[in-house]
Assembly symmetry: C2
């Protein structure tokens, strides 16, 4: 991970952003420890654009909502004019707050369930932007404004240095303590199994029932994940909850008793 | 419609809101003509809370995103501490921008379709908070913070004075010009047919293929709407698009080629 590049880009972001001083209390700071980025970056504040009304033309806030609600689909890159907006969103408190609410609702759901204790209650987690965060990678790659580069991204994956999304890690620990087993179901390919497993463990996900990676070419992520969930249910597992950052993690068949959509305005997986 | 009550409440909102002067350009004003509320209210600005980070404890912005993404379900009232937030959201530019993006995406989808011209291409619209706006009603009823009151709401419906949601009306006109017929599918009951039909016409929706109202007790809105859409398809109609403000408008069977979720942080219909 080229940390210097991140610093450079964030400096550029800060320098070029048209930020009127909103006189907002300094509650917004980078959770540097959580995301393994130096805590020298502590002055990052939301652009006025993060409130949606100061960007002429496209409202990046409305674009983001339309993405999160699955209204805008099949997109390949974040609109260029929203790079600062998305960067500020991802690095600031907003993304974390949004993730926390989802994790809290998910835990409340899990606690409300009548669990059997037979070891067949499972929780399905996606990996990227769900349990692990690729924010350090995307911070040095335009926050999704440049097309997906599989070579670069695979290099990053091989490093195995993605931090945990803290809210998901907390949920994971709570689920385990409730007696729910965890299945990771990811679009990452089989050849990344070692680095993914190592990364998960180092990030704090020490145990799991299964780590399912993609080993053949499916028509779509929905088909792949539906098929894998079907097999889980055929093997007697009950999917108490299913959590992902993409709608393709949650749509299709055998979706689970409830699904939970984490925010991700950086990329779209169909 | 008791306009004075609305004024009174909005004055209260403005008086009680803890609004630091954000020095935001005065781009936020009530679209008074669109919503049939006097244009004397022009100084309404977003609370700092509308950016999510100035509300201690609950983040109303994160709560709203979780509602819009169907993570928070089965809720009966807006959290009390979010009344000002939701009020400002609904009356300001934010709600309108969010709606506009959805309508724009929906129109682009409709234009991309190979339409047959045989009169069987239809668009399914929900009514409340989709084609008609009940913002005047909710503005005098706590913006969803008080429990649903069917007596009061039915009185409002009988008045037939709900304005059009402007973005949906524009979409409606564009769809008609593409040769797509419109079906209104609403949870409103059969006994409101006259006032609903009159209201739709007066708001600018002059023609439709069908206006379907609820005439029996279904287990849920999803079941009711799925069943009605199934009947439409069995009658040879093709549902080019399906638009609503509730996930129960869009989930279930026979959902249409694509679904579009309009924002609505004021209430939840299961």
């Amino acid at each position: 991970m080229k940390i210097l590049q991140v610093f450079s880009l964030i400096s550029t972001l800060l320098a070029t952003s048209e930020v009127p001083d909103l006189n907002i209390p300094n509650q917004i700071h980078l959770h540097s420890q959580d995301l393994h980025i130096s805590n020298q970056i502590h002055s990052l504040r939301p652009l006025s654009g993060s409130c949606s009304h100061d960007i002429p033309g496209l409202s990046c806030s409305s674009w983001r909502l339309a993405v999160e609600t699955n209204n805008i689909i099949g997109w390949t890159t974040v609109p260029e004019e929203c790079e600062n907006y998305v960067g500020n969103y991802m690095l600031g408190q907003h993304y974390r707050n949004d993730s926390k609410v989802v994790a809290d609702v998910a835990l409340a759901h899990a606690k409300s369930m009548n669990l059997t204790g037979d070891g067949k209650d499972i929780w399905v987690f996606d990996v990227d932007e769900t349990t692990l965060s690729n924010v350090p990678y995307y911070a040095s790659n335009g926050f999704g404004t440049t097309p997906y580069n599989s070579t670069l991204f695979n290099e990053w994956v091989k490093e195995g240095k993605a931090p945990a999304l803290p809210e998901s890690l907390k949920l994971y620990k709570n689920l385990l303590s409730l007696g729910i087993k965890v299945v990771f179901l990811t679009g990452r390919r089989e050849h990344t199994r070692n680095s993914t497993a190592t990364n998960l463990k180092e990030a704090g996900y020490h145990t799991w029932e299964k780590l399912i990676l993609k080993n053949s070419t499916y028509y779509s992520e929905v088909e792949y994940k539906s098929n894998e969930r079907k097999q889980l249910e055929e093997n007697g597992y009950r999917i108490i909850g299913n959590m992902g950052d993409q709608w393709s993690d949650l749509l299709g068949t055998n979706a689970g008793i409830r699904t939970f959509k984490l925010p991700d305005p950086m990329y779209y997986v169909s």
